[in-house]
């Protein structure tokens, strides 16, 4: 018996195996290279971007993300490999060492990520006494500062007091008394600190008379006077003062010029050196000349 309710195969609508026109066109469209790329790359990228944008549009999410990032950063920074435990200063005198330690208030131990070495370097280098400073973190958690200090070359007497200058004229430190560094020459006069290299050259050239030297005076911010013992002065020209000084020293070595009763050796015009003789010597000279003339 055949069931009455069942549909016989012939009655069932046969499915058409052919794709509909729309399905056919869609299939062809999806096979075009542009669309294939779009569906493989473009669409997932768009979905990801949309999700990321929606997530970031919520301020709470943004804060949480930022906090998580900071925490992660913190945990890495605080690892013992990055801890700096002490500061080592090389090439500094005890006073400078102390000053630098006071100047850089670092509470050890500290993470090396929190140290701004460039700022520290510029701070240390801003000290007058420091010629060059290298700051680095040595393996083992040591903040190392390597210094080259300026060596004082001359003493400069200014309106405010005595100061030590190096050979380039840069200030090194203050000095309370001249006797503190009696080995160094003294400079004075306005603008003396700007012409230290010239003064250094003069000092080098004038080494034979260095024992008698009291100091160098800058005159009119353009030329030097050498002040010797007994108030003697050697007035040097603007141009080529070293040559003039060497001329004077040669005279001194030949004729003991400076041993004589002379107040001033004026070399301002090197073509015409002039001597000023002290008043007693002048009267003595006149007496001798009178004798020569009068025959008394």
């Amino acid at each position: 018996m055949q069931p009455l309710s069942a549909l016989r195969p012939a009655d069932m609508p046969r499915r058409d195996p052919a794709p509909s026109r729309a399905a056919y066109k869609m299939h062809r469209l999806l096979l075009t290279p542009v669309f294939r790329a779009l569906f493989r790359v473009g669409l997932p990228a768009l979905i990801l971007a949309t999700m990321a944008g929606w997530f970031m549009s919520n301020p709470d999410n943004r804060e949480a993300l930022k906090g998580a990032l900071t925490d992660a950063r913190r945990t890495i920074e605080e690892r013992p490999e990055f801890t700096v435990k002490l500061m080592a200063i090389e090439g500094a005198s005890p006073a400078v060492d102390q000053a630098i330690r006071e100047m850089l208030p670092v509470n050890f131990p500290v993470s090396s990520f929190d140290l701004d070495l460039e700022v520290m370097q510029s701070e240390v280098a801003s000290l007058d006494v420091v010629k060059r400073a290298d700051v680095r973190i040595r393996p083992g958690g040591v903040l190392e500062i390597h210094l080259v200090e300026r060596a004082p070359a001359v003493i400069w007497r200014s309106e405010t007091g005595l100061e030590l200058l190096d050979e380039t004229g840069h200030r090194v430190a203050s000095l309370t008394a001249r006797s503190g560094r009696s080995d160094l020459a003294l400079l004075a006069g306005q603008g003396a600190q700007d012409a230290v290299p010239e003064a250094m050259a003069l000092l080098a050239a004038g080494s034979p008379i260095l024992d008698h030297l009291r100091g160098l005076v800058r005159v009119g911010e353009r030329r030097w006077d050498l002040v010797l013992e007994r108030g003697q002065r050697i007035l040097l020209p603007e141009e080529n003062p070293v040559g003039a000084l060497e001329q004077v020293i040669a005279l001194d070595q030949a004729q003991d010029l400076l041993m004589r009763d002379i107040i001033t050796v004026d070399m301002r015009n090197p073509m015409r050196p002039t001597l000023r003789i002290a008043p007693p010597a002048v009267s003595e000279l006149r007496r001798i000349r009178g004798l020569e003339r009068g025959g008394l």
Partner: protein, 444 residues
């Protein structure tokens, strides 16, 4: 004729575009099945210069990357009868092939067997302008062929120069560079009903595809089923299809005749259906499983359940012997072959030096046909299968795919046809003279 020339040129240009894209599909619109293959071209191949007169259309190596067949719908005798149905079937095949190839195809080369193909032999001759034959002379001689009156509603499918002769030296494949005074040509022209072609064009257009070429299936199955020496020495290819049987005769690697008989395997199925009182689908199944054309004593004892769905026990449990089935099939197959014989005789096939006949197509797979066919067609009959092409699935290598495979070869390596040559510039001098006269008239 010029209109046709332009149309075919446009199709050639489309084919060039497809070659540049590297993907083209071929579509075999048959009565029993519609097959679609997608070909990928690997660039220009080292083709043989000896084929035809040089390579005007451009050749390429290819491989099949997609293949699909579907049951044909709305096609009778190789002609489209129900446009919507056929369009759906084409869509099914094309979509499945595209899916397999995973690439979109825009250009299609199609073949069909219907439309009453008719062959014409054309001859033309011109005096050479110089002492040697140039390409321009070839174009002139092709244009000088006097077109036969093939009637209204017919269109040219193929127009292939078959033979060139310079003075009295005939049988030249490529006459360029030959010395002589007179160049003559024999051309083979194949026409088909333009309505049939238009219907096919419309169906393909409805599927968003561009037609890059159209061929007759008799020609393309001959291209794929005849081996090279058969094509060279002369042979006939009989494509036993579902709704029609196509005949093509090849000689010197050119098709010189094509025809079709409007009888095929479907008629055998109809005979079985009528003779055994079974539906067509059952008849088709019985034909493919138990069919044959030569009965033996054993066949009397082999009983076939022919089944049924009426609910009547006696009717649904009918049996026939295989001998009875063969008795139904054989007369029809004989009729088809005799009809083919008549057409071959009409074409003068028995005057050809070689009498080789190759049977191919789906209906050539009937067991025993190789015993029956020599009795009607002559001794030199063999069953042919299409050439093997790269990438073709095993399921599509049978004799039923002779036209599809031939169409692949046609797509990759077309013979030079009339429209591959330039239009001769003969009309230009007259026109320019007219223009000069007109200019004088206008100005003085």
């Amino acid at each position: 004729m010029n209109d046709l020339y332009e149309q075919q040129r446009a199709m050639r240009a489309m084919r060039q575009a497809a070659l540049q894209r590297g993907v083209i599909s071929i579509l075999d619109v048959g009565t029993s099945k519609i097959g679609c293959l997608v070909l990928r071209f690997d660039g220009p191949d080292h083709f043989r210069e000896s084929d035809g007169i040089g390579a005007m259309a451009g050749q390429s190596a290819f491989r099949v990357i997609g293949a699909a067949t579907t049951r044909s719908r709305g096609v009778r005798f190789g002609e489209i009868e129900a446009m919507q149905e056929t369009e759906r079937a084409i869509r099914t095949a094309v979509q499945a092939a595209q899916k397999m190839a995973n690439v979109r195809v825009d250009h299609v080369i199609a073949c069909f067997s219907g439309g009453n193909p008719r062959s014409y032999g054309l001859a033309g001759a011109v005096d050479l302008q110089g002492s040697t034959v140039t390409e321009h002379d070839v174009a002139r001689v092709l244009a000088s062929c006097d077109t036969p009156d093939f009637g209204d509603g017919r269109e040219v499918l193929h127009a292939q120069p078959v033979n060139f002769a310079v003075d009295h030296r005939s049988g030249l494949g490529d006459p360029r560079g030959q010395n002589g005074n007179r160049l003559s040509v024999d051309m083979h022209l194949l026409t088909a009903d333009s309505g049939v072609i238009r219907n096919l064009l419309y169906c393909i257009k409805r599927c968003d595809l561009e037609l890059a070429g159209i061929a007759n299936s008799a020609y393309v199955s001959g291209v794929s089923s005849l081996v090279e020496d058969e094509q060279e020495l002369g042979a006939a290819c009989i494509d036993l299809g579902g709704g029609s049987t196509s005949i093509s005769i090849f000689m010197k690697k050119h098709m010189i005749f094509a025809d079709s008989v409007r009888l095929g395997g479907d008629h055998v199925t109809q005979d079985i259906s009528k003779g055994l009182q079974v539906p067509l689908a059952t008849a088709e199944r019985i034909k493919t499983f138990y069919g044959g054309v030569v009965a033996t004593g054993m066949d009397d004892r082999e009983m076939i359940e022919i089944g049924g769905d009426t609910g009547d026990w006696e009717h649904d449990r009918r049996q026939v012997s295989r001998a009875e089935l063969i008795g139904i099939m054989r007369p029809r197959v004989e009729e088809i072959l005799e009809e083919v014989r008549d057409r071959l005789d009409a074409a003068g096939f028995d005057h050809l030096p070689s009498q080789q006949i190759v049977l191919t197509g789906g209906a050539s797979q009937i067991p025993g046909l190789d015993g029956l066919a020599p009795k009607i067609l002559g001794q030199q009959v063999r069953l042919g299968r299409p050439l093997r092409v790269q990438g073709l699935p095993q399921a599509a290598t049978g004799a039923a795919f002779a036209a599809s495979v031939g169409l692949c070869l046609f797509a990759a390596h077309p013979q030079d046809e009339w429209w591959d040559f330039d239009i001769p510039a003969e009309s230009y001098p007259a026109r320019s003279l007219k223009r000069a006269v007109k200019w004088f008239k206008d100005n003085w």
